[in-house]
């Protein structure tokens, strides 16, 4: 199960497992973001490189207008994946 939900003030809440079969669902939500935005990882259990790519594409697009994603409340395993990918230097992770 995976859900990417757009919250009231332009923020995104992720739930479940963000694997390669969920990329199209996630893109619909991430592509709708046009300004700086917080992505809540509290309920995200798992992410693979497919999910990382969706985040990277969004971060690159937003950076052109000097906006960015802020990623919050990652579990330890997901934080390790970001570190292995070197994504801890291209995203603000809090």
């Amino acid at each position: 199960m995976f859900e990417a939900e757009l919250k009231n003030n332009n923020d995104i809440k992720l739930t479940g497992r963000f694997d390669a079969s969920q990329v199209e669902n996630a893109k619909e939500v991430f592509n709708s973001v046009t300004s700086s935005c917080e992505v809540d990882f509290t309920n995200l259990e798992y992410i693979s490189s497919a999910g990382l790519s969706v985040l990277l594409v969004t971060q690159k697009r937003l950076s052109e207008s000097e906006n960015s994603l802020k990623l919050t409340n990652m579990n330890k395993h997901i934080r390790d994946v970001f570190r292995y990918a070197g994504f801890d230097t291209v995203f603000e992770i809090v």
Binding site: R17, S21, Y46, S48, S49, L56, K60, G86
Partner: protein
């Protein structure tokens, strides 16, 4: 435990279920389960992306001994693709320099202790070994 999976991203749910069954049976800890999920997904999706013309199922084998977890992923009747020889990803690049994609095999190399590749009789086999903490 062995199981064959259809060459399709929709097989991922079944693969994760199979890994859960194996993990429950062998008692591997939660962080190792996360690692198995991720490395198998990365390699399986790589096979689906680059050998989509082939309709053979892909064999996933999971084994555990006292010291190691061993994962075999075998693709049948295909050309060789040695993942141990893929280019390294530069994780120090800035956001502007970063390319989208190519990260999957990099993550596998980071999370697994040993990767071997065998190719014989048109069978392509990836062998991953993860040392288990005691």
């Amino acid at each position: 435990m062995d199981k064959k999976f259809k060459r399709d991203l929709n097989s991922l749910d079944g693969i994760f279920k199979f890994i859960n069954e194996f993990s429950a049976k062998t008692g591997v800890d939660e962080s190792v389960v996360f690692t198995i999920n991720l490395v198998v997904e990365e390699l399986f999706t790589n096979i689906v992306k680059y050998t989509s013309e082939n309709s053979n199922e892909i064999l996933l084998q999971l084994k555990k001994n006292e010291d190691d977890l061993i994962i075999h992923l075998t693709d049948f009747d295909v050309d060789p693709f040695d993942i141990t020889k893929t280019a390294e990803v530069d994780t120090k690049q800035s956001l502007e320099e970063r390319r989208v994609g190519g990260l999957g095999i990099h993550l596998v190399k980071q999370m697994i202790d040993k990767i071997e590749y065998e190719y014989k009789d048109r069978q392509s086999k990836i062998i991953l070994i993860k040392h288990l903490e005691k």
